[in-house]
């Protein structure tokens, strides 16, 4: 029993139900089609899996080839720009090394007053 009192809509839907029931396929035909489907499903699944495997292998191959084509040593290449000299400091070695006793690392520019 429905929880409403909408007879007009109910009647329209019931008319639709009667039409659908008259056009419904026979149950035995549906069972037969379902069983035939069960017999063909493994073959279709194998074909689908095969197609998916081919697509995956293609993608993997394309990725591999693309990876080979790109130079991978970019991080080790130092880009020298025309204004690099502005960043060069006098005695910049001092910033990169640890001073040791008895070892002179500073080279004084004698021309400096």
């Amino acid at each position: 029993m429905t929880e409403h009192n909408d007879r007009d809509l109910g009647e329209r839907f019931h008319a639709l139900r009667r039409e659908d029931a008259a056009a419904a396929p026979a149950l035995h035909a549906t069972f037969a089609a379902a069983r035939a489907r069960a017999a063909t499903t493994p073959r279709r699944r194998t074909l689908a899996l095969g197609a998916a495997a081919i697509v995956l292998a293609g993608v993997a191959l394309a990725l591999l080839l693309a990876r080979r084509a790109v130079p991978t040593g970019l991080a080790t290449v130092r880009l020298r720009t025309p204004t690099d000299f502005l960043l060069a400091l006098p005695n910049e070695d001092l910033l990169r090394t640890v001073p040791e006793l008895g070892r002179v690392t500073i080279t004084l520019d004698r021309r400096t007053p």
Partner: protein, 172 residues
């Protein structure tokens, strides 16, 4: 703890519900008869070979309708995928639209009803079908549609109002 699965003669149960299940499959497939038959066959196959198992928590009818709905949704997803991937080996692609032959065979009143239903959102359409066509309660419709009772009630009220408006606005 779930109750014990009742012993059922599945073929007999399906026989009793066959025309109702076909109507529901048609509703789930947007009136596309070929897709509905396909969904029904796949659903019966799941039921008969035990991939879908009735555990007695709902009535057999609401459980079967859930299986049909789930199967039809799977078909729709695969059909949508096939439209993007032209893989002929996967078979023909149902478009989920009412087929012309089915529509032509309908009486005028029911054709107007199906046309109006086709403009509603899927959930509203499903709940209205379950309540008015299948004579389920809103609670049972919620169970089949996989939504809460409150959500089903909302879909029912909104769908009913929209359907009334569409049927009222239609040319006589």
């Amino acid at each position: 703890m779930s109750p014990e699965a009742p012993e059922l003669d599945l073929e007999q149960e399906l026989d009793q519900l066959h025309s109702a299940a076909f109507g529901w499959a048609l509703a789930c497939c947007g009136g596309d008869r070929a897709a509905a038959e396909d969904a029904l066959q796949a659903s019966y196959l799941k039921v008969l070979d035990g991939r879908a198992r009735f555990d007695g928590r709902a009535t057999f009818r609401t459980w079967l309708f859930s299986v049909v709905r789930y199967t039809a949704a799977g078909q729709r997803r695969r059909a949508a995928l096939r439209r993007w991937l032209p893989l002929a080996v996967l078979g023909a692609t149902p478009d989920g639209r009412p087929d012309a032959a089915t529509e032509l065979a309908r009486a005028d009143g029911t054709r107007r009803l199906t046309a109006a239903l086709a403009t509603l959102p899927r959930r509203q359409r499903e709940v209205l079908h379950l309540v008015f066509y299948q004579d389920l309660t809103i609670a049972e419709a919620a169970e089949v549609a996989g939504v809460s009772l409150g959500t089903a009630r909302t879909h029912y009220e909104r769908g009913k109002a929209a359907l009334r408006k569409l049927l009222k606005d239609e040319p006589a």
